[in-house]
């Protein structure tokens, strides 16, 4: 499983990187941590002519926390997020979810931007971005643009990025300290891709849920929002009855595929189970 042959460049600026990609006729690929893409190449499922390594480009990493929310540079590694104690305060859903990403060594190289660009529906970051309505800053040959997370993911391992576009950062909107949240995923072993997962957050006003956002992992070709489950909770108290209704709605609205690890029927039920557990922990967690 040796890698196929390719050229390699590690430019020192974004402009250079974009130019290299643009000149590559679609067969040049940017590489961040490489923790997902190098295995793809090892299986020779991708054979790019040129890898443009983003590691020498300044200002692509870093985590900025402000009133506007949390901005994570594309080259920030999983471990940078887990090491940043401010996040537990600023957006606790993030570290809770990222704790499920792969293993120790992978987290030392894998990046947030790489995960978004890889667009694996079984990964955590794409669903987090979608659920929290994050904005993705992108730079390409035609200039900068901002993509809503919902517009980034177009299919399994497919995005709306042009071949010359590079993700610069992901920006999560402001997170009210009183926000309630939950994250549950289930995988066959520690660090494996989830058989299903749920990320959610909502505001609570006068005992009722508002702005309910529920995203699911690994039950479709892309990360998806569970709109029916959201509707089942919006404006209601999060209690046994509404949780049950949301669970049923979640299982009802997904149409997952079966594979060698789990049947479709199981995944459909599992997403409801996990939603129930995530809601219970969200509701049960002490209000801050």
């Amino acid at each position: 499983m040796k890698l196929p042959s390719f050229d390699y460049q590690a430019p020192a600026s974004l402009a250079e990187a974009v130019a290299l990609l643009a000149a590559g006729d679609g067969s040049a690929r940017p590489i961040a941590g490489g923790q997902s893409f190098l295995p793809v190449m090892a299986f020779r499922l991708a054979e790019p002519s040129l890898l443009v390594d983003l590691r020498n480009i300044p200002d692509l990493s870093g985590i900025k926390i402000s009133d506007a929310g949390v901005r994570i540079g594309a080259m920030a590694r999983w471990r940078d997020l887990l090491d940043d104690v401010r996040l537990a305060e600023a957006m606790p859903l993030l570290p809770a979810a990222i704790d499920h990403v792969a293993h120790y060594q992978i987290r030392n190289r894998g990046t947030v931007g790489g995960s978004l660009a890889h667009a694996d529906p079984a990964a955590e970051m794409p669903t987090l971005a979608l659920t929290c309505e994050a904005q993705i800053d992108v730079v390409g040959a035609k200039g900068e643009r901002v993509l809503a997370a919902a517009d980034l993911f177009t299919g399994a391992l497919q995005t709306s990025l042009e071949p010359d576009e590079i993700i610069v950062a992901v920006r999560f909107p402001a997170w009210a300290k009183t926000k309630r949240w939950g994250f549950e995923e289930f995988s066959r072993r520690r660090g494996d891709f989830a058989l299903a997962g749920v990320a959610l957050c909502y505001d609570e006003t006068e005992g009722r849920a508002a702005n309910v956002r529920i995203g699911a992992i690994s039950v479709a070709d892309t990360p998806i929002r569970l709109k029916n489950a959201e509707a089942a909770l919006e404006g209601r108290a999060v209690d046994a009855a509404s949780i049950e209704a949301a669970m049923a709605a979640a299982s009802g609205e997904v149409d997952p595929a079966g594979d060698i690890h789990a049947s479709a029927r199981y995944r459909k039920a599992l997403v409801g189970t996990l939603l129930g557990r995530a809601l219970e922990s969200a509701a049960g967690r002490k209000a801050r």
Binding site: L3, F6, L51, H103, I106, R109
Partner: protein
């Protein structure tokens, strides 16, 4: 491509094709065969080395990406005669059988305990879950790591 980096305290320069992984470069260009390759797709952890203080999978890193890095392999944990406290604990607890996963276990645990000498059993299990061992069932590996913590707590973790 010609690149230079530091391995086990020694400056080296190699000429590698871009597609050469760090693992293959260490093993075949630099003859540091203590780093083992068990899957070449980033799952088994046998190829773990320490790059600038972080444990990483050397099959998921290109040699050209190691430019100017400081790398420690299992050989770098064994510079002097004798065994380090972690290696001694592995022997004492029978934390290895065929020995193939062992270099990756040692580098991973060395990186972890250097940074987190008070890591508890759950943390150690969690970290080592990225390294596959087919022989031991892991229980003795966890015992060895727990036993070796005291040497890291006293700053003697890398002394043979």
């Amino acid at each position: 491509m010609a690149i230079g980096f530091e391995v086990n305290g020694r400056a080296v320069s190699v000429d590698c094709a871009p597609r050469t992984t760090l693992a293959d470069c260490l093993r075949h260009d630099l003859k540091l065969t203590g780093t083992h390759v068990g899957c070449e797709h980033g799952v088994c952890g046998a190829c773990t080395v320490i790059v600038n203080g972080d444990a990483v999978r050397s099959c998921l890193m290109l040699a050209v990406q190691a430019k100017d890095a400081k790398i420690t392999t299992v050989e770098g944990l064994s510079m002097e005669e004798g065994l380090t406290p972690l290696q001694t604990a592995f022997k004492k607890h029978h934390a290895l059988q065929c020995g193939f996963c062992t270099p990756g276990m040692l580098t991973t645990l060395h990186a972890l305990l250097s940074e987190e000498p008070h890591a508890d059993e759950d943390r150690i299990r969690d970290v080592i879950s990225g390294n596959i061992c087919r022989c031991t069932g892991y229980i003795t590996i966890i015992e060895a790591a727990m036993d070796a913590r005291s040497s890291y707590q006293s700053g003697e973790g890398d002394k043979a």
